[in-house]
């Protein structure tokens, strides 16, 4: 044993050297430096630059003319932008009021004691989320075709809708098709969060509630909902932010266009078209900042209403 002691002390001796102390002190700075350098270059600079750009009219990256607030004035008077905001808002509405309740309902069922094969079911519900929006877009553009498409065949079989229903070329049906597709993609995804939250709720609380004579309905409101609230608010805010960034799904499903009568035009699609198809990066920045502010206001509003404002940290 004595030899090992000396060994350690020999090894330990040089560790008080200046190099060792220095590397210990500098380590955290070195470790975060890649993040900080990249963030300064590709985060801070673009943020400042895009604020500036939003006051310019540009033609590609090379030319820029200062126009003051004209971009914003034009944006708010552009009927195309109104259309994009409306479509995006409608999509977000269905995401919050149809998709999230479905996710929660599914999670509640899956969390009940009765269910067999919970892991496998969870896997099945979650699986569509593995497919990127582009691939889902290509797949569903074929599933939605009139006559032969699987959606029409299925809905004709169960609900008797005509098989020649033109989901993607009838302006009135574009949004329902998008909502259906996103339900398929995201119901299971959000369910995973709800399920994890439900499983983390303290079981003793249910027992206490049962002792106090609370029925299942009361338990849901008094125990379950408060228990999953932080996660529910997180899911609500994230899925709203996600909805407002909708682009790829309609862009691909509608064959690189805004669709009939621009029924699938979203805010980000509008940004992409003005900035990178027309080539006005200044105007694209204006659209971007308007989107960011809108999303921020809505997120804060949601956190306020759900009462997560003060408790946001936990």
């Amino acid at each position: 044993m004595a030899t090992r002691e000396t060994e350690i002390s020999i090894v330990r001796a040089p560790r008080t050297s200046r190099w060792f102390v220095l590397q210990h002190r500098l380590a955290p700075y070195l470790f975060v430096s890649p993040f900080l350098i990249l963030f300064a270059t590709f985060g801070v600079y673009p943020i400042v630059k895009s604020l500036l750009l939003s006051f310019y009219v540009t033609n590609g990256p090379k030319s820029a003319v200062f126009v003051g607030l004209q971009n914003f004035a034009f944006l708010f008077s552009d009927p195309d932008f109104h259309k994009a905001v409306w479509n995006t808002a409608v999509f977000a509405f269905w995401s919050v009021f149809l998709q999230l309740p479905m996710s929660l309902g599914l999670a509640l069922l899956l969390n009940s004691l009765w269910v067999k094969g919970r892991e496998l079911l969870r896997l099945a519900f979650f699986s569509p989320n593995l497919l990127g929006q582009v691939f889902v877009g290509v797949l569903f553009s074929v599933l939605f075709i009139p006559q032969y498409g699987l959606v029409n065949r299925f809905l004709h079989f169960i609900a008797g809708i005509p098989t020649d229903t033109k989901w993607l070329s009838n302006p009135d049906l574009v949004m329902p098709a998008l909502v259906l597709t996103s339900l398929w993609m995201y119901v299971g995804f959000n369910m995973v969060y709800f399920l994890a939250a439900l499983q983390a709720v303290d079981k003793d609380l249910y027992e206490a509630a049962t002792v106090d004579g609370a029925n299942a309905w009361h338990q849901f409101w008094a125990v379950t909902l408060p228990g999953i609230k932080p996660v529910a608010v997180f899911v609500l805010v994230m899925s709203t932010i996600g909805s407002f960034q909708l682009f790829e799904l309609p862009w691909i499903m509608l064959n690189n266009s805004a669709g009939p009568d621009q029924a699938g035009l979203t805010i980000v699609m509008y940004l992409y078209q003005t900035g990178f198809v027309t080539g006005d990066l200044g105007y694209a920045s204006t659209v971007g900042w308007t989107l960011a502010l809108g999303v921020l206001i809505i997120s804060l509003f949601q956190m306020r209403v759900t009462g997560a404002w003060k408790g946001g940290a936990d």
């Binding site: 993040f35 895009s50 067999k116 099945a124 569509p128 593995l130 582009v134 932080p230 940004l271």
Partner: protein, 273 residues
């Protein structure tokens, strides 16, 4: 009452099974569609009695699809490695050290997570253009080399590593980087699995930024290549479905391998908060 519950139990299980079947149907249809000849495609709803490899042959004959698969694999793998290294390193620093500016960095990170990425698209493109990185993988990878989400994820999991372990290593003369490399990373194995999959999926499926940055079709990744294919061969549904199938297959295989870690990692930040 007992009978009522028994019936309810059967109904709940049946409902969940039906819902799962409905969820899986489009994917089953996709697989079936790739294996049908053009004549059979809409003749049979799902699988045809005679399987055909026509769609795959057609796909590789009409476009260099293997090229796109290699491109996507290269870009996604590089991105995963770079993001994994930088994010876990920063996550380690934020979890286990006290240093000046730590709070500011955390606030900075949280606020960027609230900002939709599209806001920065225009100036970022301008910057990449000035750096001469348009139409290069560097322009694709470098701006996304650090994942803020990843830093949070790793900070969260590294917080659980006992400090005594790190102190003991220091006494034994480990440098800080060796501590990260030999102790912290091996312990974080589950989180590494989860993050690799999340990062891989993000890059593999990403469309908008590659679409803006890449011009030369030889460099196309799968999402933009497939999108182009839709424009070119709009009516050849079978070929398109074969392309779609091959595009989603790698992610599904990877998911099967890392499933447990993935769900844990996905919900870690939200549930433990």
């Amino acid at each position: 009452m007992k009978l009522f519950y028994r019936v309810l139990r059967v109904l709940v299980n049946l409902f969940l099974l039906a819902f799962a079947a409905l969820t899986l149907t489009p994917m089953v249809w996709l697989v079936a569609a790739t294996l049908k000849s053009p004549d059979d495609l809409f003749h049979y709803t799902f699988f045809a009695p005679r399987l055909s490899t026509f769609n795959f042959r057609d796909l590789f004959n009409t476009v260099p699809f293997h090229r796109y698969m290699i491109n996507s694999t290269f870009v996604a793998t590089t991105m995963v490695i770079v993001q994994l290294f930088f994010s876990s390193l920063a996550g380690f620093a934020l979890a286990k050290y006290d240093f000046k500016g730590k709070k500011a960095i955390m606030i900075l990170m949280l606020s960027t997570m609230m900002l939709p990425g599209q806001v920065l698209m225009a100036p970022l493109y301008e910057l990449i253009y000035r750096m001469g990185l348009v139409d290069s993988y560097a322009g694709l990878i470098i701006p996304g080399a650090v994942s803020v989400f990843g830093i949070f994820l790793f900070r969260q999991s590294i917080l659980q590593v006992p400090d005594e372990l790190l102190h003991a290593a220091r006494i034994d003369g480990c440098s800080e980087f060796r501590i990260y490399w030999d102790i912290v990373m091996p312990i974080s194995r589950p989180m590494i699995g989860a993050f690799c999959l999340i990062s891989f999926m993000g890059t593999w499926n990403s469309f908008l930024w590659p679409q803006i940055i890449l011009h030369n079709t030889d460099r196309f990744t799968l999402p933009i290549a497939l999108n182009q294919l839709v424009g070119l061969y709009q009516q050849q549904y079978g070929t398109l479905m074969a392309g779609t199938f091959l595009s989603v297959l790698p992610v599904i295989v990877l998911f099967m391998l890392l499933q447990k870690e993935f769900i844990a990692g996905l919900t870690a930040g939200a549930v433990k908060g």
